[in-house]
Symmetry: C2
Subunit: 286 residues, 2 copies
């Protein structure tokens, strides 16, 4: 990434804020667009962006790299309305948690002289907004790039380099479909489980008795309903399939309890233990 | 707890080891029985017990307080075999994660001149054995005492005091039945969920793509199969009911996805967010 590369963040929330902080710290010119005047005012005060506005075509025109920190529907709407202002040759990328329905859709109507490469930084917090942004959440995190046949190697490499300078620990390239399958399991199913666990028992005294297990499993039950409902519904076919696979496993454990089948129960526990141990070992690349 | 109170730990595993470390550090005489010679040898070398053996009736006879760090079935078997060696007036307590089927059973055959008060320190690690014991796991943890009508106030108070000197953050008293109901939800259901999530997808590349959500939800998928299968089966009626309540909530989310019912999905997310926020606030007593 050249030192004079100019960035524009469209949608200055938690993740957009992290990008802005990190890229500004690296010496780049970073501007931002957000319909929330408070987000822009805060970012200007903090010095994490050079300029900002609700909309300013001059900022769009000057940007070499445009990073969309918007939800999928808002991203599509913004591009349809404003793609005319992009400079020829601009590189566009995003941060959204679903890729089918975003990447294909954008590429179907995008001007041929700019390029969009889908990306998904696998990092987040249980709070939202630029005021809570902190680029340290990228440090041990994975970054997924989801190119299609319409993308050039140069653009994919540039997004790879962007992920590197943002500080991500492991960067992977996969198709939008493989991404949505994986994320439907690793991220969306886990959120469905956490919210279901939190909602299925209304005993008000839980906190007095709990251990760490319940705290761990419900941390992500604090969920941004606007964002996650949009992501869930965009990926609903995958997510329903993942819920069904998980439910089948849960039902098998239940049946072991009914049958008092200690041997099968222990076999399932040994399997999960072995798989989790492998997972620990592979958590950090060496 | 008087300074000359003598403790005996029967079953010197992870939790028994934590008790031994802490009580020895407080200046008490702490001895231990364990059928694993390595556990005893290690604890003697480390100076966390004064004496130890596989079985030594002299150590049983001298103990004012006997703490069972055994699994429920082993606890019952030990007491049936060796209760004759206990000193009159001895206080017995345990650490096991299920209370019905343990407390009632013990009290049904126990000598009338000694007293057993059920207890459950809500702390643990994903590893086992005295070599992994570390009394710091008690620091922010909850401690549950489960007396019955057969217990005296003095004995319950003594176990309360024991929990205090062990360093637990919050000590609660409830019936064995209420305990098993609560633990069936907070601890057992969460372990069933974690192992089911770990086992329901055999993609070997998961680790390369995951975020923190999946790591959090599967931490406890590393599970001691001998201990947890025993606890699950002892509490199977409660646990099956908890699985069913959770499954019903999961099915409702699934139906929202099928129906594309964004309003209901968001309502469920807002409910889980509100409940989890309350939970955070109440996590530490002030």
């Amino acid at each position: 990434m050249k030192s004079d590369t100019k960035f524009l963040i469209v949608g200055l929330g938690l993740i957009g804020g992290c990008y802005a902080r990190r890229l500004t710290a690296l010496g780049h010119r970073v501007c931002a667009l957000d319909t929330d005047p408070d987000a822009i005012a805060y970012a200007l005060e903090e010095g994490i962006i050079a300029r900002g506005a609700a909309m300013d075509e001059a900022l769009v025109r000057e940007a070499d790299v445009v990073i969309f920190g918007l939800y999928p529907k808002a991203l599509l709407a913004w591009l349809r309305a404003h793609q005319g202002a992009l400079r020829p040759g601009a590189l566009l990328t995003d941060v959204s948690g679903v890729k089918c329905g975003v990447v294909d859709e954008v590429q179907s109507f995008l001007r041929p002289d700019v390029e969009f490469v889908g990306a998904h930084p696998m990092a987040g917090r249980e709070v939202s907004g630029v005021r809570n942004s902190d680029a340290r959440i990228f440090q041990d995190a994975n970054f997924l790039i989801t190119p299609t046949a319409r993308n050039t190697k140069a653009a994919v490499d540039a997004v790879h380099e962007l992920a590197e300078i943002l500080g991500f620990a492991r960067i992977s390239v996969l198709t939008p479909k493989a991404h949505d399958e994986m994320v439907g399991f690793l991220s969306q199913l886990t959120h469905v489980i956490a919210m279901s666990l939190m909602n299925c028992n209304d005993n008000p005294d839980l906190a007095a008795y709990t251990g760490d297990s319940f705290r761990d499993l419900t941390r992500i039950a604090r969920i941004n309903d606007r964002m996650w409902s949009e992501l869930f519904l965009l990926n609903r076919e995958v997510l329903v399939r993942q819920i069904d696979a998980f439910s089948a496993e849960l039902a098998a454990v239940r049946q072991d309890l009914i049958d008092q089948d200690e041997a099968d129960l222990r076999e399932r526990m040994r399997r999960s233990t072995a798989r989790r141990a492998l997972f620990d070992k592979e958590r950090r690349p060496t």
